[in-house]
Symmetry: C3
Subunit: 390 residues, 3 copies
């Protein structure tokens, strides 16, 4: 119900208004220190976000998606969707971002993604919100930052689960810092699932023109390595994209903040990992996922080096496994290892590192191997790929 | 009614077409010189612009809005709106821009905003157009640029008033310049309001999760100063944003034009002030306006130094006044002074300037104070803020 | 029909999965070598793209369109359209891009556009796809790259023809290169038109406010030259725009690829020509096309020098011809020559080159003239322009 209100005319106030210095000064701070994470606590993240169609397409194209499912409404409808679904990478980048204010705006690093799945599609116009539960706070000794394991879920406007994942974060101690952190939300429901089922349309006959000829289920076999030819030079466009997907961490858009940090994350603003992952998946998409009907999940995902504006990203994929799916889907399951590189293309990286390129960076120390400074990301992805039309 | 036309085939013409040099050369020029402003004249601005939902969300997120009213359709509907309204800052940035071709494309500087108000919400899909009336041309002596006071109104597609503000502009004389300026529009209606009422929905029960815990009406008291932690490094994204909101002034996107100017506005293209204001309001939003039900108005707004790509913006706010509002709004009125800084954060600026930071830059000369080179903006804003849910 | 599926839990696989080096390595490559073009072959381009309203407006404003037909829904409806049509330049930029993967991802250069026409409007929400037929492969001797002439058509979701053009491309030979190129699509229909009719609404009474006063049909006469005042400095925004319109050529977004090339296209990524043309048309639009009811066609279009981020584009127009149109359109036909410049404005270019500026660059050698290094583009455009309202 609209009503008319009369608030009167605004007049200048500043010259005669009070000013309480220094007693009245507040410096609100977001994120949490290690001490603020309690096992089992639930954070209800603020804001939420409606995903307009234009934004969803901007995301799909800026991050170089080649699967027509996310670009072409006619194709998406032939797949049984009411319209183009929102790309799972955008759902992940957004839901994770909505939790940053509570989970990681004080974090030192995002350590890894595990058990990421998308139990039902999100469509343009849907509104996402996010909740996080602290799974376990792991102390690493006095004065040392600790590791916090959390589970985050994304819900749509009908409170249906659209995303669930686990994540580990490196978090500093409060120590002497007097800054107050955001207080805990009230007790909240946390409707996660032990193992969510996937709600998906059964595809009908798909247009033949829409995809390439070498990216059907039958084209992949375990042990294959696919070098994705094109790279993408990242520009400072990532400053704005950070907030466009709801991420509030200043490390990604405040150059003075970045310059004042020390260590690997100092210098230029670091690209938000959700964007790096999205570009890498996009670079791989023409050769691996353009016939994907769905992203069944990701696990063991690690951002192993930072990426900044000016870096050129390249990707390569390894086929880990192939498996059949239910007959009426006319599809099969392919699991890929996706590797991301900066300033070195896949062919050159394979020349330089050979089989070591596919070792997890975290495992290299115990194997007596050096980390690859050009390797920025690694993850395992399970995709549902169309079979070649007969 | 669609009809078929046959325009025949196009054939190459250039080699045999006439070319009248120099007699046939025209160099159309936009904006007006001081002599072209007549008290009482009305300019009907061309083009107008429909605001698609995707653009409205891009604006809200790029400029770092944290009020879910502009991001989350479920929340906006709980507030009584049919969908997310367009952010008042976007309405202001757009309507002002639509007037640039007539009002200020030849201006030297925008001097100030006064009595800005938003008498009814704008929604995605609405079409805005703008008119300006010359309030008064103030001559400052022969050869000197003059000051023009104008009133601009924004109308939606139903010719309802959605924005009204007064503005002062520093405008050069035509002098000897032979360039023709845009001729006056025919006489036009100018449906401004002496003191517009505000048409607003009465909010229902709002979701508790959507905002932080320290930004309700009760959290503010006169004299407080709030330092907004995060900054935003502006990139050359602003070149494109200038036209995305309808602004045609080359100062904001033509580096050769900027390099050829002299004085404070020479060098790199200057960020359009409407964008600077929007970023500063966004930086302040998590701490001040995330629970705002409406922006009741702005006044005494001054862009005190130019901002260019590469500058990092910071903001701080001072609470000037708090006042009650009608009971059924479950809200109160808080007036803030918003200060914008470049390349210096709020805490450092407060250390350096103390209480002087809150003096208007224009008043400093008469007070025997120096201007602060890092201070880019100051304005007074009156917001309707939700009371804390009981 | 949505159904629930149980794909089970994803587990880590990489450490124990096979890895076939080097036998299992694939490096998919896109585009075609000269030998792969057979006269009469039809390529059915993959993906297609739905054009959301937000993207269409982003395109119109980023590329500086001043014709309210593409910005203002109220105006577009007064012109008889159901809503704002998609700008013809966006249709061209998109359809050409969709063909790059087949036509030109290995090309050395785009040589020219001919007989471009837009037989019916495209509206936001429409889905475009593209097909190309090889008109003629022209060999230029052993070891030399050849010239391929192709015709491309764009179809909407109802398979109606919305764009048709011819194009010439400079393509290298495969030679010893062992890389496989994309195989030919199966035989396909190619519903082009010898001379398409144009389906257009008959405009009603148009709002007077929406455009300037000097850009009606009556304002143009053959031989006139119009210098468009404002320039636009291109930023690395073009990296993302390349994919936003569906173009997959790495020359436009992969700095390592660009740096490794030799010749005129080496160095920084080159701006996709469809974007350069769009900016130039936008820069010209306030003075030439803001009253256009339709773009009747383009021909003899040449990108004569590359443009990169940091370059400032300027445009000038020459009136080649004026002609009447059917009475009930209240419009006439004006043919313009559009010239694009980098880092030199129209007035300075006219001073420097005089009448030679309007010679086609390809014709200069035989005329004993030097090319103009600042001239980046030239084309002839035929526009249907409103007559001045009486």
């Amino acid at each position: 119900m609209m009503r008319e209100f009369d608030f009167g005319r605004m007049t200048e106030m500043a010259p005669k208004a009070p000013l309480h210095l220094p007693a009245g000064v507040r410096a609100p701070s977001y994120g949490r220190y290690l001490e603020d994470f309690t096992d089992g606590a639930v954070f209800v993240h603020p804001r939420g976000m409606t995903l307009p169609r234009g934004l969803c397409q901007d995301f799909a194209t800026t991050f170089m998606e080649c699967n027509p499912l996310y670009l072409n409404e006619v194709y998406a409808q032939a797949c049984g969707h009411p319209t183009t679904p929102v790309s799972p990478l955008m759902v992940l980048a957004t839901v994770l971002s909505l939790g940053v204010q509570n989970d990681s705006e004080k974090a030192i690093a995002h350590l890894g993604y595990y058990d990421v799945h998308f139990p039902r599609p999100v469509y343009p116009g849907d509104t996402l919100r996010a909740l996080t539960r602290v799974v376990r706070r792991h102390e690493r000794g006095p004065g040392e930052p600790g590791i916090v394991a959390v589970r985050t879920i994304g819900l749509n406007q009908r409170d249906e689960l659209v995303l669930q994942y686990d994540r580990k974060i490196l978090v500093p101690r409060r120590g002497d810092a007097a800054t107050a952190s955001t207080p805990l939300a009230a007790e909240a429901q946390f409707p996660d699932a032990a193992m969510p089922l996937l709600l998906l349309p059964v595809p009908g006959a798909l247009p033949a023109y829409a995809t390439g000829r070498e990216t059907f289920f039958e084209d992949f076999a375990p042990g294959q390595v696919i070098l994705h030819a094109n790279g993408r030079t990242v520009t400072d466009e990532h400053f704005a994209w950070t907030y466009r997907v709801g991420n509030t961490h200043p490390l990604h858009f405040d150059r003075m903040y970045s310059a004042a940090r020390s260590g690997a994350m100092s210098g230029e603003p670091i690209v938000y990992g959700g964007l790096v992952f999205s570009w890498l998946a996009g670079l791989a998409s023409r050769d691996t996922s353009e016939n994907a009907l769905w992203d069944l999940g990701y696990t063991e995902g690690y951002h192993t080096q930072p990426t900044a504006a000016g870096d050129t990203l390249y990707a390569l994929s390894r086929v880990l496994d192939v498996a059949p799916a239910e007959d009426d889907l006319h599809a099969g399951i392919v699991t890929f290892q996706l590797i991301g590189l900066k300033n070195l293309n896949g062919a050159a990286a394979l020349d330089r590192y050979g089989a070591d390129l596919f070792l997890k960076e975290n495992d290299k120390k115990k194997l007596g191997k050096d980390k690859a400074p050009e390797k920025v990301f690694e993850i395992e992805r399970r995709l549902l790929l169309r079979r070649r039309p007969s």
